[in-house]
Symmetry: C2
Subunit: 274 residues, 2 copies
């Protein structure tokens, strides 16, 4: 029996950066399976020693050394973790010296604040953005559109809602959306309420097959989910986008992150990674 390789993500805070970093690297090893264990909040020597015990327990059972992706700022804690029997790959160990040299500055060794910042203005505005996107999902007032940074327009189930939430949550953007109605689609016309905000609109389309599949999961066998209806709505939506010069993209093979990045780039919206 081949055991999976064990991977630890160790961090003095949430572990999210260690996971992102490690997972990105591990996608380069196709076909291998990894048993992943996150150990967050390793912010005392005692917790570091406990983490080492967990890593060593795996290392003893298994000829394959565990991989340990670490993002711990404190030198003492990192020193303890480095003594584990895993392969220790630390973000700060490697890059900080080069950056210190370049900036002619010492690093502050502050415990990671990338996923923290609960009290700053920026964090507050992000939470507001989330509430905004929630409140204005499929719900439309001229006031809400006036406040928006961007308004996604599309037929049902092309990805508007998750993309708006993602842009709010990860980038602090006030992202509203407008689901095209039967009437809009039939006439390939924008409703009057959107006309003052044309510059903020971005359209989504999809492929017939994908939209059919996604809608079928929701309402199997319905007209709404039929291939014909999906094809019709996509065709009309695209005609509408072209008529009003609304930039648009086909979301069929794109993740929420990819859609958002394209929209933000095209609309020149600020990116903030929280």
């Amino acid at each position: 029996m081949t055991r999976q390789h064990t991977v630890f993500f160790v961090s003095d805070r949430t572990g999210l950066t260690a996971e992102t970093l490690g997972n990105t690297l591990l996608t380069q090893f196709d076909g291998m399976e990894f048993e992943k264990i996150t150990v967050p909040f390793v912010n005392t020597p005692e917790r570091a020693r406990q983490a080492v015990l967990r890593i060593n327990a795996i290392a003893e059972q298994d000829p394959k050394r565990p991989l340990v992706f670490s993002t711990t700022v404190n030198d003492d804690i990192r020193g303890i973790l480095r003594e584990s029997h895993g392969l220790f790959l630390d973000l700060f160990d490697h890059y900080i010296p080069a950056i210190e040299k370049e900036l002619s500055r010492s690093s502050t060794h502050t415990v990671g604040r990338v996923h923290g910042m609960a009290d700053t203005e920026r964090y507050r505005s992000r939470i507001e953005a989330i509430h905004f996107s929630m409140a204005h999902d499929d719900g439309l007032t001229p006031q809400s559109y006036a406040r928006s940074d961007v308004i996604l327009v599309a037929p049902s189930r092309c990805g508007k809602t998750p993309t708006c939430l993602y842009m709010a949550l990860q980038h602090g953007l006030f992202a509203a959306n407008y689901p095209l109605t039967d009437e809009d689609l039939e006439q390939a016309r924008l409703p009057d309420v959107l006309l003052p905000f044309q510059a903020r609109l971005y359209g989504l389309t999809s492929s017939e097959q994908r939209l059919h599949r996604v809608r079928s999961e929701r309402r199997p066998g319905s007209r709404y989910a039929s291939l014909e209806q999906c094809a019709y709505e996509l065709r009309q939506a695209e005609a509408l986008y072209r008529r009003y010069n609304i930039p648009f993209l086909n979301s069929a093979d794109k993740s929420v992150e990819e859609i958002a990045v394209v929209v933000m780039q095209d609309k020149n919206l600020r990116r903030q990674t929280f």
Copy 2:
């Protein structure tokens, strides 16, 4: 006039990993300000050369060399980027050789899939989780609770909604929430609908001051936002949590990510970083 140091995040995909990497490292240089430019989708030699021109344009104006955080998998593209006049810091350059050696495997050089995966089962379930959390925000049926992985319980504005959305979006969890009503709080009793799901409950509290401030932004001068009302609700909520042995945490100085990580750890919920 001191110019800010310019930082580039260059990637063959969304640039999100490069941003995470770079921003985490830059938080270690307190008090310095950085002008940040993300250049996503650098997936052809031509685009790589364009990115180099942008980096060099800054490098020529400015005695401070730009920092370039890169996550590009392709060797040729990375080779072009490396020739820029910035300080080139690439994720793959550094870590991949060590991991290849450890795993006795060559890496596949596949363009980053950490923020992609639009068609896998996992991605579908994530989108479902987002729709679930949207649909069941403050809306409650026994069916929705039965399907949930976790149910956050709290007075208004302690962070339930953003945390649920975050857990859905970033970890694919079916996260429901229940806002405690005046009646629940008065009697420090759970409503009957939640009793079958006690094992999935997690409580949030906050500090009086923070809750007062957050609620005042929403309804200034209201009874709802008054310090007395906030103190009362938090006291009663905590009594309720203790009565039913519901684990809880004070969200006052925590970000959405931090709250989610603690909840997932306490409830032993799987973490998936998308």
